[in-house]
């Protein structure tokens, strides 16, 4: 089908990653809030990881789109 699923996945995780990273930065001085996550600013670190994952998905989708339709597998003749 005409939609490369990596676009929506990449967009969604990048966006969530940005939000969580920014929120993590904004709340980095709030020690009480991060007490429950063992004093780790999980929003910042996990947000960054989501951002990397989302960016990687977008990159893959972009490369695929640039390369044009993928060459068909040898045995993809309709059965």
């Amino acid at each position: 089908m005409g939609l490369d699923i990596r676009w929506p996945i990449g967009l969604m995780f990048s966006l969530i990653g940005v939000i969580m990273t920014l929120f993590g930065l904004a709340t980095s001085s709030n020690a009480e809030m991060y007490h429950r996550s063992l004093d780790i600013n999980v929003n910042l670190y996990w947000g960054l990881l989501l951002l990397v994952f989302g960016g990687w998905m977008l990159l893959m989708a972009w490369r695929a789109a640039k390369a044009g339709p993928a060459p068909e597998d040898k045995n993809s003749k309709p059965h």
């Binding site: 996945i9 999980v42 990881l49």
Partner: protein, 649 residues
């Protein structure tokens, strides 16, 4: 008890997810032109997408909640549901069965049965499947909505209807393709949403080694935490195979080796993974035979490592419960605030009562088994404590556990605002992926195997396209109705699930004989199935568990078997269930074999080409690179699985 408050960021994460899945539905709308686009994706999807969807459709909310619960109850042995009860069957499906499903051009599993046998077998299978998917969907929806309501304070009806509405929108717009695409997105959401919780939990208990050390202490004396009634060897929670080899009394599952390997690993596992249209449909949507065969193999990779995500949380919960300074317990059964208020009043009034009398009064007020040492201590301290502290003390003193609450309780414990939104979104994603899986399998079976086959044949494709969409709406409404039914008539639901267990148990015998023995006849398959179903029912009626018998040997609850007399007693319901499946399989196998020999073949070899192993030209894999050949991949995966079993033996 105390509900968590969601912040603005949490709602933002949730909203972005909902927008993403709905957008996928709308983006695919323009490709939906015929019934096959809508119901079978026009067989156009790459293998990695169908592979992840395959596993995601299986990873419903009940799987997440239930496996964490089992992780707490049985420890690492729960991985048998993965490394014994899934991977081998998934490999078998890919290597041996997909060529028939995909190559026969059947649009569904029941349609394959029609081609291979006759209309009777198809009708039996499709009706049972259609009813079962709706009920399965409803049961899972009710369970999740209830959990969200009790642990987060969300409105039950709102949670139910909003989730259903989101699924409805994207399935209605983009059909099976939409369900498969969103399942891939949901797969990543579930993994990335729960991984940090598992990480934080493991870090908190002091790492893997420390967790195992705590679990070994617990195993030798589970009574101290009210986690069980008898002691086990130290490795009962931390080894997968050693306790099993020690026999049913040596492992908390109460299962013997044969039941585990044959009952779960062969009959139940192959019966689910190789014949259930919910998962097989994903592989059938792949763009070509090679992609279809690789689908279950790609799915097997995450399935193999999922135990970290779904079982380890349960083990963490037990370890935390055993550490007094962690201020955590596996949640008790949910009680309303009034019960706690009344019980707190009883505590205050009973401080003067001596010993046992006070404990008894408090236990009566709560209505659950209580830890008498904790209640005694609470009574002693009560005059100095505030109401809130007394209620907290009561909560901690309840000696029963609601294991299904494990996963959400860990999310609550470790997630600050932000991560909390992500983890809850992951939970909702698992809920929606399971539901969309059920709905898309249901609408295809209804439209092609019931409506087109029996109610309205020879209509235009546009008519079936319309019917596919209409039945999607109906299917979701029926699921919601089932969810309400489940919330009101819990016992009726148990009976229904029991009956479905009977129907499913013998199924794999029919497929195995049908696919690998050309002599199998339609009559043999049909009567064999009925025999197997009947055999399960009789087996259930004549066996029960030890715990379901009172001191004089009378059956306590007929739902747990033995209502026609007790011939065999099992140590646990799980063992009874595995043996039931094994029995049903053998009955069905023998009957199908015998009746097929006695009846005349109705299909010629020519008609069975592409449907039966011996009559189908072998697929030439040699054209592909060796690492893409299903057989090679299958062997590699099987080896990995064996290694995992050895590591965690």
């Amino acid at each position: 008890m105390n509900n968590v408050q969601l912040g603005f960021v949490d709602y933002a994460v949730l909203a972005i997810y909902v927008i993403a899945v709905v957008a996928i539905g709308f983006a695919l709308r323009r490709y939906m032109k015929s019934s096959s686009d809508f119901l079978t994706s026009g067989r156009s999807i790459p293998a990695w997408v169908t592979g992840l969807a395959f596993i995601s459709a299986n990873l419903g909310a009940l799987e997440l909640v239930g496996m964490a619960a089992s992780g707490a109850k049985y420890g690492i042995a729960t991985s048998h549901f993965y490394w014994v009860g899934a991977i081998p069957a998934m490999i078998f499906l890919a290597v041996f069965m997909m060529p028939f499903y995909y190559g026969s051009k059947a649009r569904s599993v029941p349609e394959y049965l029609k081609m291979r046998f006759d209309e009777r077998v198809r009708a039996l299978n499709s009706i049972a499947f259609a009813v079962m998917t709706v009920f399965a969907s409803g049961i899972s929806m009710n369970a999740l909505a209830k959990l969200l309501n009790q642990l987060l304070g969300w409105n039950y009806h709102l949670a139910l209807w909003i989730c259903s509405a989101v699924v409805l929108v994207y399935v209605l717009k983009g059909g099976l393709t939409s369900a498969i695409y969103t399942e891939v997105l949901q797969f990543f959401m579930i993994v990335l949403g729960f991984a940090p919780v598992v990480y934080l939990g493991l870090k908190d208990v002091g790492g893997w080694g420390n967790m195992n050390a705590s679990l070994q202490t617990v195993a030798q004396n589970p009574m101290a935490l009210n986690l069980g009634e008898k002691a086990y060897a130290a490795d009962a929670w931390t080894s997968a195979w050693n306790p099993l080899l020690g026999g049913p009394s040596a492992n908390p599952m109460g299962v013997d080796l044969f039941a585990m390997v044959f009952g779960l690993g062969f009959v139940l596992s192959f019966g689910y993974w190789c014949t259930n249209f919910l998962v097989v449909q994903r592989a059938m949507a792949a763009k070509n035979m090679s992609a279809a065969r690789r689908t279950p193999l790609i799915a097997a990779v995450p399935k193999m490592i999922f135990p970290i995500l779904v079982i380890v949380p349960g083990m963490i919960a037990v370890a935390l419960t055993s550490m007094p300074n962690k201020n955590y317990r596996i949640p008790p059964p949910i009680l309303s605030e009034q019960v706690y208020d009344q019980a707190a009043a009883v505590v205050k009034a009973s401080t003067a009562l001596e010993g046992a009398a006070g404990v008894e009064a408090v236990t009566k007020a709560i209505g659950k088994k209580m830890d008498s040492a904790k209640v005694t201590a609470l009574l002693k301290d009560a005059p100095k404590l505030s109401d809130a502290d007394i209620k907290k003390g009561l909560y901690n003193a309840i000696a029963e556990y609601d294991y299904d609450g494990v996963i959400l309780s860990l999310v609550k414990k470790y997630c600050p605002t932000g991560l909390l939104g992500l983890a809850l979104t992951a939970l909702l994603a698992s809920f929606m992926s399971g539901m969309a899986g059920n709905v898309t399998a249901f609408n295809t079976v209804w439209t092609y195997d019931l409506y087109q086959a029996y109610l309205a044949p020879n209509k235009s494709d546009q008519h079936y396209f319309w019917m596919g969409q209409a039945i999607t709406v109906v299917g979701i409404l029926l699921s919601i109705a089932c969810a309400y039914f489940a919330s009101m008539y819990n016992n009726a639901m148990d009976i229904i699930q029991l009956v479905f267990g009977f129907v499913n148990a013998p199924l794999f015998a029919t497929f195995l004989l049908g696919m690998f023995w050309a002599r199998t006849t339609g009559t043999g398959a049909f009567l064999g199935l009925f025999g197997g179903i009947g055999g399960s029912a009789v087996f259930h009626a004549l066996t029960t568990t030890f715990s379901n018998l009172d001191a004089s040997g009378h059956v306590l609850n007929g739902m747990k078997g033995g209502y026609l007399g007790v011939l065999v007693k099992f140590p646990s319901e799980m063992a009874q269930n595995f043996w039931l499946a094994s029995f049903a399989f053998i009955i069905c196998f023998a009957l199908t074999l015998g009746i097929s020999m006695a009846t005349r073949r109705t299909k010629t070899d020519e008609e069975l080409r592409g449907l039966v192993y011996s009559l189908t030209p072998k697929i030439k894999d040699e054209e592909q690179s060796w690492y893409l050949r299903p057989a090679t991949l299958g062997i590699v995966l099987l080896l990995c699985c064996v290694i995992l079993n050895l590591i965690f033996r």
